[in-house]
Subunit: 132 residues, 4 copies
Amino acid sequence: MPNITLDEAERVVQAAKAKAMEMGVKLSISVVDARGDLICMVRMDGAPWRTPYVSRGKARAAACFGVPSNDLTERALQPVFRAVMEVEKGEFVPGQGALPIFKDGELIGACGGSGGTAQEDEDAARAGIEAL
Amino acid sequence: MPNITLDEAERVVQAAKAKAMEMGVKLSISVVDARGDLICMVRMDGAPWRTPYVSRGKARAAACFGVPSNDLTERALQPVFRAVMEVEKGEFVPGQGALPIFKDGELIGACGGSGGTAQEDEDAARAGIEAL
Amino acid sequence: MPNITLDEAERVVQAAKAKAMEMGVKLSISVVDARGDLICMVRMDGAPWRTPYVSRGKARAAACFGVPSNDLTERALQPVFRAVMEVEKGEFVPGQGALPIFKDGELIGACGGSGGTAQEDEDAARAGIEAL
Amino acid sequence: MPNITLDEAERVVQAAKAKAMEMGVKLSISVVDARGDLICMVRMDGAPWRTPYVSRGKARAAACFGVPSNDLTERALQPVFRAVMEVEKGEFVPGQGALPIFKDGELIGACGGSGGTAQEDEDAARAGIEAL
């Protein structure tokens, strides 16, 4: 399984943080690997305590399906999604704010944000990934 | 992070209790700090055993988002809210009955009620906070 | 089931708080009814966030068996106690710091402390109960 | 409650990471605030997927008691610690590898490592904190 490196993940997080500062929002930003496991996370000063795990859960959902987590929201009440959410105990959040990361066409991880509007969370993630 | 003191929290709880007596309802009333952790709780004689933790969970939700818990109800089935409820294991209740507490514009805690109608729960919390 | 009233529980908590201040320790103090359900709790300024639920769990254990929670510590690794702790999910703490409350020979509740040494927790609970 | 800033937490994490590289071990390193909530985490390339949450749980334990998490290990089977571990659902790890962070005598957070020996985990955390 190809995976994003910590160096790359830190660049993503720093660029997403810069975008959040530019937008004037206080976010947590998580990068996970292709398996959905956490590599790197920052919580900006003033971002609520829930945002680290929410950003992580969105990123895991995006990595798990290889699509923007927003694409999963419609299905969030379907039995399969409810089962995955139950098994993952809050570590799988099929809501807008995370995007998968690809390299040479292969999934290598995902980046998710939490603390702004769902659109701002996603915009920060996108800016982070574009910095790669 | 500024926090309500125990002295202040006890005044809130006593005033909310007085309001509940005036309304003729038997409530539990919880005050949490800005992080959502419990500071002070009373359960009036005859209020059911579930009401301490329900009032606490509403107060935590109000503190977590800095808004009346009633404002969160519509979003309670969204993925992010379901994840937070799962992680918090019943300690996060996005239903009417709790209000955030601000001091000089900063969130310092929240007060929540349980045991009456949702509106009565919220009215008691409001009366408590106004006593500050 | 005879039960301590909220008025009585508040007197217990206030007297236990006064004792804690006299000892110079920052405690949470919980009073539960004969069923072990919470009636009243205060967390003194500076007492850690874990102390509300730890004091509550000790009080529940004391009420459940009608003995000082300290008397249960030796049995805490026995299968029955492990089962109760598992079912109660942290709301049953068979460790020193809580005492049962009796009235006319009948169990009416329990008071537990957390945040000091286990002995200080118990001393505060005792002072609270003696105020009844 | 005073809290470490993200800027400070990132300096701690980077210095702990440098120490881990010098020791030739692959760690996850977490910094939490005084409440025990995550601020910043990195997982070095090759560190196992369990290490982010183990390092976080050790850091939370150190912040919760304001002592090195190693000082808590002996008590880990006591009822209070079992209850806290149960309530915190794996987010509280009273094992060696994390140290509290103080500023002007006040607790502002904690740093924890996971992935090496418990001593290496703690050494990395110490090097991180000394960089402040």
